[in-house]
Amino acid sequence: MLFVYDVKRYRGQERKFFIGGVILGAIYVTLALNEELDLNFVDLIQQVLKPIVDPLESWLIKYQL
């Protein structure tokens, strides 16, 4: 109901973004629930920050119990 209300409410670029976003989101959820898609933002950030994270992590571990 909320979806129909929003589709009717928005115009032009906003409507295109809304419908596109919902369709992409629905595909993402379906693939995620069926474990067919490996789109992991956390892993992505971990890979990008790896060169900085590794030295910091090994330094932090020295102070842990």
Binding site: G21, L31, L39, Y63
Partner: protein, 359 residues
Amino acid sequence: MKEVISAKQFAILVFMNTLGTAVVFIPTIATRYGGENGWVTLILSSIAGLATIFIYIKILDNNNQLNFFQIIEGLVGQLIAKVIFVLMFLFTYISAIGNVWALSQFISLQILMETPAEIIALITLLSSLIAVRYGIESISRACEIFFPFTIVSLVLLTLFVLPEARMENIQPIMQFQQAGTFVGVIPVLAITFLELFYMLVICTSVNNRKAAKKAFFIGGLLAGFSMTIVTLACIAVLGVGGTLRHTYPIYVLGQNIRFANFFERIEVLVAFIWFFTIFFKVCTSIYFLNRTGQHLFNFKSYKVITIPLTIFAFASAITNFLSVLSDLKLINSTYVVFALFIGLIIPFILAVVRVFKKT
């Protein structure tokens, strides 16, 4: 129509946002570094956190007309500002889905054992979707209503576990793990005060900018004090070993409540603290994500993004995190670096630019 909230509501929102998630994980993290001095780590973190809030409020001016995004664009120009907003969006997105998944796992593991965590994540996100669509005014008012419940739960928890507290568990003070006590401030700060930069978006909605800055401090101070008390209670009752061994030490603390042989097993009281705080934290972070998206895509209303974003957040929440243990590892590694960059370095540079622009 511009949404307006009061300074008091803003202070409560800051309190809820600082305490959400942190109140459950902080005792374990602080004790892992500081041992029996874990509560000292929390005191130091609160001081450092208030210094961080000082940096945040330095970014804002006293002009009530401009919003957060316009202020940043005025400071560093449109292009750099857009890069900053994208980075803040990414960080807040990961923080939001992490919070949703942490809450879902907690309920699924401790309270509703047969219910899949995915369903709890869906219910949480749908509730926040409704709240965000109502706007920050409604979120703040709801937060104001639930604030006494959170405080009462915290006070009851602390009072009822007092008979179980053993002072020898927190002794000797600052004799061992001295360096760890100080180093522990970094991860503690990362999951508490460094996430608060998104409150600046709401800060510009407060009817009095000067009062909002003061409220930011008051909310942070109250949250720091509460976290210190909870950590102290965890170490005093469960000991260092017990606090480290349990994933949710505050929940175990609730299980220890035994009063006059009839008032016991009230650990759900503890869960209330977390439900309320994390719900408002998720709402606030999703509100920030929507407002940032609205600004980046130049939409008239942020509500265009609410439904697609919630669907994406749900899919990410159920797939991006493996287990509670991997979450704790993430908090002690990647999340620290990301939080330091987004929550400290960028705001610090922005605050310096603001000071130079003034002079």
